[in-house]
């Protein structure tokens, strides 16, 4: 049912072309319809799909495809190239402050994977970058959010800064940054509560945390299974708090993950990491070309 890859999608059109000597503009149009299908089925946002298909069509109607003996392959290659480019070409590293501590904020919708990713990221920072991170429990709303982060801290043997749930997240973050300076933690990772992008009061809270000390990174944590709404979410968070990068979680599932493209297209912010599991070592750098293949089902 769902999730036919682009190659299968194009089969019908390719068969038709095979009998003919060359590819017509009409053939390209038909192929583009399949490309559109495949992308929407992969959860790429409709508006982003439109732009994308337009761009690819322009290239496809050009010289490359029309004369080619394997037009199907050619189209797939163009689509893949353009997708990879759109997704940000190169791997994007973490930005550190030259006046430590580096402050990293984790933001996003409810259940996206912020708390889990906070733990994973701290693990990467210690292991790969030799940092001394401090985890900050600034979610005072979700039941047992503080305990969740504390449990992860214990698993990792890393300190968690927590002041319970009776103090405002802004105050918790402020004291945490002070504490980090005193204790020589060079990175502060702030786990914030999940919130809807349309919740003005809670979005204001993020702005207030942001205003304490200009964060070096604000990571929007996004569930890779997200559908068409990904653009609204990414755009709203970006406009309100100014994200610097994206972490795409739960990519160990079988979703095509078209949200990645949507987010990248509307925010132009790099996807920096992908979550590949629930365990604390399941965070990997993001590779645009792999993601392109995945979205296309190849």
């Amino acid at each position: 049912m769902a999730f036919e890859g682009l190659a299968e999608r194009l089969q019908g059109t390719i068969q038709k072309i095979k009998g003919k000597g060359k590819v017509s503009e009409q053939d390209v149009k038909e192929m583009m319809r399949e490309v559109r299908f495949a992308l929407i089925e992969a959860d790429v946002n409709l508006k982003v799909v439109k732009e994308f298909v337009k761009k690819v069509s322009e290239r496809a109607v050009g010289i490359d495809v029309m004369k080619s003996l394997t037009p199907g392959q050619q189209v797939i290659k163009i689509v893949q190239d353009e997708l990879t480019t759109l997704m940000g070409g190169e791997q994007s590293p973490i930005k550190f402050s030259n006046r430590p501590p580096t402050v990293i904020m984790m933001v996003g919708l409810q259940g996206a994977g912020k708390t889990t990713t906070t733990g994973k990221l701290a693990n990467v920072l210690r292991k790969k970058y030799n940092k001394k991170p401090l985890l900050v429990a600034a979610d005072v709303y979700r039941p047992a959010a503080v305990q969740q982060l504390q449990t992860l801290g214990k698993q990792l043997s890393l300190p968690v800064f927590a002041l319970g749930t009776d103090i405002s997240p802004v105050e918790i973050a402020r004291q945490a940054i002070e504490h980090a300076k005193e204790e020589h933690h060079d990175v502060v990772l702030i786990d914030t509560a999940g919130r809807l992008h349309i919740d003005e009061q809670l979005m204001q809270e993020l702005k207030d945390i942001r205003a304490l000390k200009e964060p070096d990174e604000v990571f929007l944590v996004v569930d890779s299974m997200t559908g068409q709404d990904a653009v609204n979410v990414a755009q709203s968070f970006n406009e309100a708090v100014g994200i610097t990068g994206v972490v795409l979680t739960k990519l160990d599932g079988d979703t095509r993950g078209g949200a990645a493209l949507s987010i990248r297209a509307v925010t132009e912010k790099p996807i920096k990491f992908v979550g590949m599991g629930e365990k604390m070592d399941a965070l990997e750098p993001f590779y645009p070309d792999r993601m392109a293949s995945r979205i296309l089902g190849m």
Partner: protein, 293 residues
């Protein structure tokens, strides 16, 4: 009211609105065919009254000739009803359990919860906070223990204490993880062994923000645990979760509740007419306004 012509542009706009609500290609095409036919048959010229027809056709696709199934399968004569929650990570299982417990308790039922997520950090604490909030007992073991053993304990405890409803939490798991799906089957089996016909409801929590993957989720969880209903969570956001139409149409799993927030009473029974209307009505209205301006 504002009217406009029902032409190709109109159909295209409607198509786009529904795709943006995650309804999915197949279902949208199905609707467009039905709608075109209806528009011709009734010789409809403008959009006056067309919303009702769109709604009707969408509900028709959703229900696909089956009866409307929104209620819970509750046992009578004081027998224990067991409700099992399943779903992928972070969709809202635990929170929905809290809300449902509150709802059932308000209806005068005695409720008990089983902390079957022994894996995720803080999951047991989270359910316990909900238990306190709602004022119901939570049966739990320590983190890392066997979820099937927790269920066994909980069913025994619920029977002993004569409660009306036992609601069981499970750890979130992605449907492509074979081991974890097997574990879930085992949990299901343990419950059935203690009470024939139980669990009486297996509710799949689906996040309304999810795209087309939700269909695969429903399919795989149904294979593993015979899902009887869906709770569509996080509908208080801007996402619509339109894929539930295809899930009902193809897999015959009805939506039973919708989640509308993080508080105790943010759970409502599913209303198909109201839901499908919400998929497109605002969008159409906006388009009309734009054309007028």
């Amino acid at each position: 009211a504002r009217y406009r012509k029902v032409d190709e542009d109109f159909f295209e706009e409607l198509e786009e609105l529904l795709l943006q609500a995650d309804v999915g290609f197949e279902t949208v095409m199905d609707l467009m065919d039905k709608l075109r036919y209806e528009v011709q048959r009734q010789n409809i010229k403008d959009t006056n009254g067309i919303q009702a027809i769109i709604s009707e056709k969408l509900v028709e696709i959703y229900e696909s000739g089956e009866e409307n199934l929104t209620g819970l399968n509750m046992q009578q004569n004081g027998d224990l009803t067991v409700i099992l929650f399943v779903g992928v990570n972070g969709v809202g299982k635990t929170t929905t359990i809290g809300k449902l417990a509150h709802r059932l308790k308000s209806e005068g039922k005695s409720v008990m919860l089983a902390a079957g997520d022994t894996f995720r950090a803080g999951a047991i604490d989270q359910l316990q906070v909900w238990g306190e909030r709602v004022g119901v007992e939570v049966i739990a073991q320590s983190e890392g223990s066997d979820p099937a053993a927790v269920m066994y304990d909980a069913v025994r405890a619920a029977k002993n204490r004569g409660v009306d409803v036992l609601i069981c939490d499970t750890a979130g798991r992605l449907q492509n993880k074979v081991n974890l799906m097997n574990e879930l089957e085992k949990v299901h089996r343990v419950i059935s062994r203690e009470i024939p016909n139980a669990p009486h409801e297996v509710l799949l929590a689906l996040d309304a923000t999810t795209g087309q993957n939700a269909l695969v989720q429903a399919q795989m969880f149904k294979e593993a645990t015979n899902v009887t209903g869906i709770v569509l969570t996080k509908l208080d956001g801007t996402a619509k979760g339109g894929i539930v139409l295809a899930i009902r149409n193809k897999l015959h799993i009805p939506v039973k509740f919708v989640g509308l927030g993080e508080k105790m009473d943010d759970l409502q029974p599913f209303d198909a007419e109201r839901y499908v209307y919400g998929l497109f009505a605002d969008g159409l209205e906006k388009e009309l306004k734009e054309i007028e301006d």
